[in-house]
């Protein structure tokens, strides 16, 4: 009986282990090994730390690296600021059907692919686009306005893409907040701001942290939005990885970049958990 249970357990575990092993662990080990070598000549490679040395000393790579990190953090913060009132409204103020409809509205953009969504923004924001024409028509602008190809457009795209992933965990945690706890906060003399700060936000913290982690990782790893909306000055680290792997055929440096990104996201997620005094189990479980 015990032996049978064990076999069953192993059988159930096998797909998971295969999945993890074949698609996550092995490629990563492979990547790590690629990143730790240097091309000497045709087909000849030697173990070396050159790639990391290059990545960490070339100002361009470092700048892109930090820019991506800072912009991702910023995108996460903006997403949180916008998503929080939305989630609060959905979870606490809207009732019944309205609640469902609002939730659906957040979901609908995800029925189309990211590419189409990004094209949508391009149609709106471009010089001959909708917004520009509207501004001219209303007389707010006397010539076409270019709103594409800058950091602001990129930020809009990133926030838009990440919105749902912030709203869902927030709604879930806020729904579990007993209305009477909020009322008690007011009843005992709290103002709107202090109730928000001392009661609602601490309660929503698990949702805030998990939403932020997801959004941060999505932004950091986004490739399409920064490239398409960001335009000529858009420097995004994933783009550099793509360039090294595909355009330049420089897998060694690309792999090193990939690992830097992995370390960066791990460090920032760890920092976020540390800062809020939470553990990963609490947040994801």
């Amino acid at each position: 009986m015990r032996a049978e249970a064990r076999i069953g357990f192993i059988l159930l575990l096998t797909p998971l282990l295969l999945w993890l092993g074949l698609l996550i662990v092995i490629p990563h080990i492979d990547m790590l090994m690629i990143s730790l070598r240097e091309r000497i000549s045709f087909g000849v490679y030697e173990p070396s730390l050159t790639q990391y040395d290059k990545a960490l000393t070339e100002p361009l790579y470092l700048r892109t690296f930090w820019r991506t990190a800072v912009m991702s953090v910023l995108a996460t913060a903006i997403t949180l600021l916008i998503a929080f009132p939305v989630a609060y409204y959905i979870a606490k103020m809207a009732r019944g059907r309205l609640q469902q409809v609002l939730f659906m509205l957040c979901l609908i953009p995800f029925y189309v692919s990211e590419l189409v969504r990004t094209f949508g923004w391009m149609i709106l924001l471009r010089e001959t686009g909708l917004v520009s024409n509207l501004l001219q028509w209303t007389g707010l602008a006397d010539q076409p306005v270019e709103m594409l190809y800058n950091d602001a457009a990129m930020m809009v795209g990133l926030v838009y893409t990440s919105m749902l992933f912030m709203v869902v965990p927030l709604v879930t945690t806020l729904e579990s907040l007993d209305d009477s706890v909020v009322e008690a906060g007011y009843d005992l003399g709290g103002s709107g701001l202090s109730v928000l700060r001392e009661i609602i936000i601490p309660h929503a913290m698990p949702g805030i942290v998990s939403g932020c982690i997801v959004v941060f990782m999505l932004s950091l790893g986004n490739y399409l939005t920064p490239t398409m909306l960001g335009g000529k000055d858009s420097l995004w680290f994933t783009e550099m990885i793509y360039n090294q792997f595909i355009v330049r055929s420089n897998w060694e440096l690309g792999a090193a970049f990939g690992f830097m990104l992995l370390v960066l996201s791990s460090v920032i997620v760890w920092g976020m958990l540390r800062l809020t005094g939470r553990t990963l189990q609490e947040t994801m479980g």
């Binding site: 007993d178 706890v181 009322e183 008690a184 007011y186 005992l188 103002s191 001392e198």
Partner: protein
């Protein structure tokens, strides 16, 4: 003396439904006032209006003589203990109790001192550093009251705070709440659907039904001298007969029940011959005897068969089916006299007209 809390012609409508219909009452300082009623009667609405979470459609709410209609909930000298207590789970016990004081901008050291005092007062010294979920139900209850009481409110509102506790603890907390109220010497307004909570603790009880106050009085008033059939039926147990008035002799009258019995009772209101009426008799007012002679001093006498014995210690009852086929609930005296009573036994029952109250019935 100015009452601590006074409601004048309070009305609250939600769309077409009137949740609170022209309610007026006043609560003298230092008293324990309960609003008792079935769920959905509007008592929670009154409480939320007093706390400031709802605005009355019309009428006035005065605290210590001054209207508070324009005062937001966080500025009213009223605090509330919520049904599920609503302690802040993200804070320690000390932070919970100190929350209101922090909002008032009191100095840290002073807050700490007041919190310690409050913890002493509720008999839980030294638990300030604990988390909310480390406390038992009764401890949470006391913390919730302390959290309000440190603010020294004029009126403390309690919204069925014992509802979530188990029976034993609830019995215990009734006594403790009453003691806390005496210790803090603050006006408590307590709402509940549990009559025993209201009867045990309150100085005054308002019985509420369908948005209106049926009767306001002490527990004894409500129990022994109900003003309305609703109060008579709602407070305590009662046997009830419906019929028409046969004869009126001052405050005494005789009614013919629909099943054909003649009954004597005391009128609670003016009634004339031929009026539809109903009579309420408490099970403990009904006497049980083996022979008809033993009951000769009672105005009303019946005989019947025991159909069931409901043993519940001191509150044991017997169900007796009379000759007309109606079932009466009778208190079973625990004197040993009826220890051998069993199902199917013939018994004689009787009660005095003074213990039977007669109201006008639905025509």
């Amino acid at each position: 003396m100015t009452p601590d809390l006074e409601c004048v012609d309070l009305v609250k409508r939600f769309g077409d439904t009137t949740a609170v219909d022209n309610v007026s009452f006043s609560v003298p300082p230092g008293s324990f006032f309960s609003i008792l009623g079935p769920s959905g009667c509007g008592k929670t609405t009154i409480m939320r209006m007093i706390a400031g979470f709802l605005e009355p459609t019309s009428g006035d709410i005065r605290i210590k003589g001054g209207t508070v209609l324009d005062t937001p909930p966080n500025k009213r000298p009223v605090n509330m203990v919520f049904q599920h207590l609503a302690l802040f789970p993200m804070m320690t016990i000390a932070d919970n109790i100190g929350y209101g004081l922090r909002r008032q901008g009191m100095a840290k050291a002073q807050i700490a001192r007041k919190v310690d005092e409050a913890l002493d007062r509720i008999g839980l010294p030294g638990i300030g550093a604990r988390k909310v979920d480390e406390l038992s139900g009764g401890q949470k209850q006391r913390v919730a009251i302390a959290r309000c009481m440190v603010l020294e409110p004029d009126v403390l509102l309690l919204d069925e705070p014992l509802g979530a506790l188990d029976l034993k603890l609830r019995e215990h907390m009734k006594i403790e709440l009453k003691a806390l109220q005496a210790a803090f010497d603050t006006t408590f307004v307590y709402i509940t659907h549990d009559q025993s909570e209201a009867l045990v603790m309150s100085d005054q009880i308002a019985v509420m039904n369908a948005g209106r106050f049926e009767q306001v009085g002490t527990g004894q008033d409500l129990y022994y001298r109900p003003d309305t059939p609703f109060v008579a039926g709602f407070i305590g147990e009662a046997n009830r007969w419906i019929g028409r008035i046969d004869r009126v002799e001052g405050s005494m009258l005789e009614m013919r029940t629909d099943s054909g019995l003649a009954m004597r009772a005391t009128a609670a209101q003016a009634l004339a011959k031929g009026d539809a009426a109903e009579i309420f008799v408490r099970p403990e007012s009904v006497h049980l005897a083996a022979s008809a002679e033993a009951l000769s001093q009672f105005d009303n006498r019946l005989q019947g068969t025991v159909t069931s014995i409901l043993f519940n210690g001191a509150a044991s009852r017997v169900l007796v089916e009379d000759d007309a086929g109606e079932t009466l609930e009778v208190t079973l005296p625990q004197t040993g006299e009826f220890a051998s009573l069993k199902r199917g036994d013939m018994v004689h029952i009787g009660w005095g007209a003074a213990q039977a109250t007669c109201f006008a019935g639905a025509a």
